[in-house]
Subunit: 203 residues, 2 copies
């Protein structure tokens, strides 16, 4: 019988997920076989199935990792004094996370899978709801502090901040030669111009 | 031997593409078999292969259809007197095109496939290059007319306009209950606030 060494088990799980991410990014979820993941991880199928009973379980674990990354970002920024600055930093950090093309391709795979696989869809929806709620809280704090246009609907504005960062992730994957770092100033500019109070809003 | 009736052939091709789009949106490109497409189109494999020699050829035809839709939009708006208004209308029209969830899912499938399949990738890149060049021309016209902030880099701003509309497409697919129509005013607002001349740009 296997003895449970929690440290070793966690290390193994990470090793499998790393190998799976490489395979999925290259071939997509559906075209990747568990045999390919085993080969990339240097493990036997029996060993792999000890940690993840199915390919679906690996995909769900990757979606959970994405959620954890996002929550850690929010923990870091949600208490910042400067709410508008925190929103900008969050958007830049999300773009930086995805400036690794492997990570960005996996984000698109997870998104595509979320539309087809109810388990991944539920994880994805929960993740998104948390991100949008967190952004809406920051927007409301920014409004109270006079940094954010109080005429904006915080819920709707949060949706568009998410859309903007997703668009940035899509650029990393789809645009050959897109350098996230070069585009950071313009992302900051779009967010600032969109959110700040508009003293002279025309028409 | 088959006789070539161009009208009938075009009708058949459309019929196959419509059936394929439904299958792909539901299962993804890789998990869809040509047998499923035949069944959905009500055709024998021999008949289907007469029009499309492979699943890859069907995928390429769908990517070409997307490109045609985009080019038609540009033909309609690129000569408009009001360049800033034309940019807003283009973005809204792209969001409207993708407010059909089937179409939006196919857009994400094509994007994911573009990262893996060089033929689709080349089509996709050509499409994108044309869209960005068209937007940059409109931005420059808007700058000359005093409608668009002349300090913006037209090429970079075009990239972010594309990112914004891609983000909107992602919302249609990924956000249960997202109503494109309700979000049109905010998309217009983001674009306008981002692009217009900034008389009082702070620090």
């Amino acid at each position: 019988m296997r003895t449970a060494d929690p440290y070793k088990a966690q290390h193994r799980r990470r090793q499998i997920l790393g190998a799976a991410v490489e395979c999925f990014a290259r071939h997509g979820f559906h075209a990747t076989s568990t045999a390919q993941i085993c080969a990339a991880a240097g493990m036997s199928p029996g060993n792999l199935f000890h940690y993840f009973p199915s390919k679906a379980a690996i995909i769900a674990a990757i979606a959970e990792q994405e959620q954890d990354n996002m929550l850690r970002l929010f923990e870091r920024w949600s208490a910042a004094e400067d709410a508008l600055g925190a929103i900008e930093e969050l958007a830049l950090a999300m773009m930086a996370l995805s400036s690794d093309p492997l990570q960005a391709r996996i984000s698109i795979e997870v998104a595509a899978e979320a539309t087809r696989n109810p388990q991944v869809g539920a994880l994805f929806a929960a993740n998104e709801a948390q991100v949008k709620a967190g952004l809406a809280v920051l927007l409301e704090r920014g409004m109270a502090a006079g940094q954010v246009d109080p005429q904006l609907d915080p819920g709707k504005a949060a949706v568009w901040l998410v859309a903007l960062t997703e668009g940035a992730i899509a650029r990393v994957v789809l645009e050959p030669g897109f350098k996230a770092r070069e585009h950071q100033p313009m992302l900051r500019q779009i967010i600032r111009r969109f959110l700040r109070p508009q003293p002279l809003e025309p028409g």
